[in-house]
């Protein structure tokens, strides 16, 4: 507590330290949660392989292990990028990359129910395949995590861009303020907080990755849900 004559800077510094401590605890908590589910799933599935009764079950378990390992890798890359570490960025060259198969595979990785419906013709923006995969997984994971209805994806080709629109209906619509802050690191709107685990990492990282590729990610409200638009160079 500040006493008379004590420099204001000290109080501000103390408040900042308290803020930093609160943020540190929150980050460790959400990182712990985000890591624990895929790690325990991999461990459990590996253990269950021993007693798997048939080849079909074994194949499902192996696929589940690979999917959750991919989630861990994405989380790790996202955390490194959020920390400003660029050593994990891809080194391959940007080439014309077909979006449809990557969207469909990403949907499986994030645990989307059923098949993903992609409207519109396939398109091949100029982007590193590994980066497009990461962007797709972060954006689709966001739709699965915060939506409570079907997720629909449309692909549109303009003269100089490929636009991927991911529309999902959420149980609580984000406010204007939440839309504005959605791309800030570790920001989680009220609708996100009540939706369960999450880090406030996905949209931040998706936008950073898109910008590295000369593109952009935006978020808008539409009807009873939201649309995340990924714009990439054609």
């Amino acid at each position: 507590m500040r006493t008379d004559g004590e420099p204001l800077e000290r109080e501000q510094a103390a408040m900042s330290l308290a803020d930093v401590d609160a943020i540190r605890r929150r980050v460790l908590n959400v990182v712990g949660h985000s890591l624990r589910t895929p790690v325990t799933t991999i461990a459990g599935m590996a253990g269950a392989l021993v007693d798997a009764p048939d080849d079909e079950t074994r194949a499902a378990l192996v696929e589940g292990i690979a999917r959750n390992a991919q989630r861990l890798e994405n989380l790790l890359d996202g955390l490194l990028l959020a920390a400003g570490v660029t050593t994990a960025l891809p080194v391959d060259e940007a080439v014309a990359t077909s979006v449809r198969p990557i969207l469909e595979e990403s949907w499986r990785v994030v645990g989307g129910e059923g098949d993903l419906v992609v409207d519109g013709p396939d398109a091949a923006p100029l982007v590193r395949a590994s980066t497009l995969r990461q962007i797709a997984e972060f954006v689709l994971d966001n739709a699965v995590k915060y939506g409570d209805g079907p997720t629909t994806v449309t692909v549109e080709r303009t003269p100089d861009q490929v636009l991927i629109r991911v529309a999902s209906t959420g149980h609580v619509l984000p406010t204007d303020d939440e839309l504005e802050h959605a791309f800030e690191l570790l920001y989680r709107g009220e609708h996100a907080v009540t939706a369960g685990p999450g880090m406030g990492l996905g949209l931040f990282v998706a936008r950073q990755l898109a910008r590295i590729e000369g593109g952009e990610v935006t978020l808008t409200r539409a009807g009873e849900g939201v649309v995340v638009t990924v714009a990439l160079q054609a």
Binding site: R36, T37, M45, G47, D51, A60, E113, A195
Partner: protein, 134 residues
């Protein structure tokens, strides 16, 4: 491996928003001899499935989109008083630990090893229904 306890009659519902967790738990619990009679992806569905199936035990994730597990507990208690609830979560802060303790709901952290969960299901599910509520 044959479990050292009789589990065949115990009926279980799994509530978790993660499809892989549901698949894994179903497989692990069936391997232990439990009868997995239903699954739910959020708290509201968990209540509906429990009303329909009246299992002995529901394994309830606490953090789920929509109606989370935490919010579903009062309705679960009211509509299915004989269903024993086990809170099964990836992380549990002090508030969650205190609340589960206050409501006398056993709390287990998610683990790849299902033995602790299986033991708790047997402990709660094998008892008389009137003893299962909080």
């Amino acid at each position: 491996v044959t479990p050292a306890y009789e589990t065949r009659a115990i009926r279980v519902v799994i509530a978790d928003d993660e499809p892989d967790v549901r698949v894994l738990l179903r497989m692990q619990l069936q391997q232990k001899g439990f009868d997995v009679v239903g699954e739910a992806v959020d708290g509201r569905e968990a209540v509906d499935v429990c009303v329909e199936e009246m299992p002995d035990v529901v394994v309830l994730d606490l953090l789920m989109p929509g109606t989370n597990g935490f919010e579903a507990i009062p309705a679960m208690r009211r509509k299915c008083p004989t269903v024993a609830i086990i809170a099964y979560t990836a992380v549990a802060g002090e508030f969650v630990r205190q609340e589960m303790s206050r409501m006398r709901i056993p709390l287990l952290l998610k683990s790849g090893n299902v033995d602790a969960l299986a033991s708790k299901i047997v402990e709660l599910g094998a008892g008389p229904p009137e003893n299962r509520g909080g």
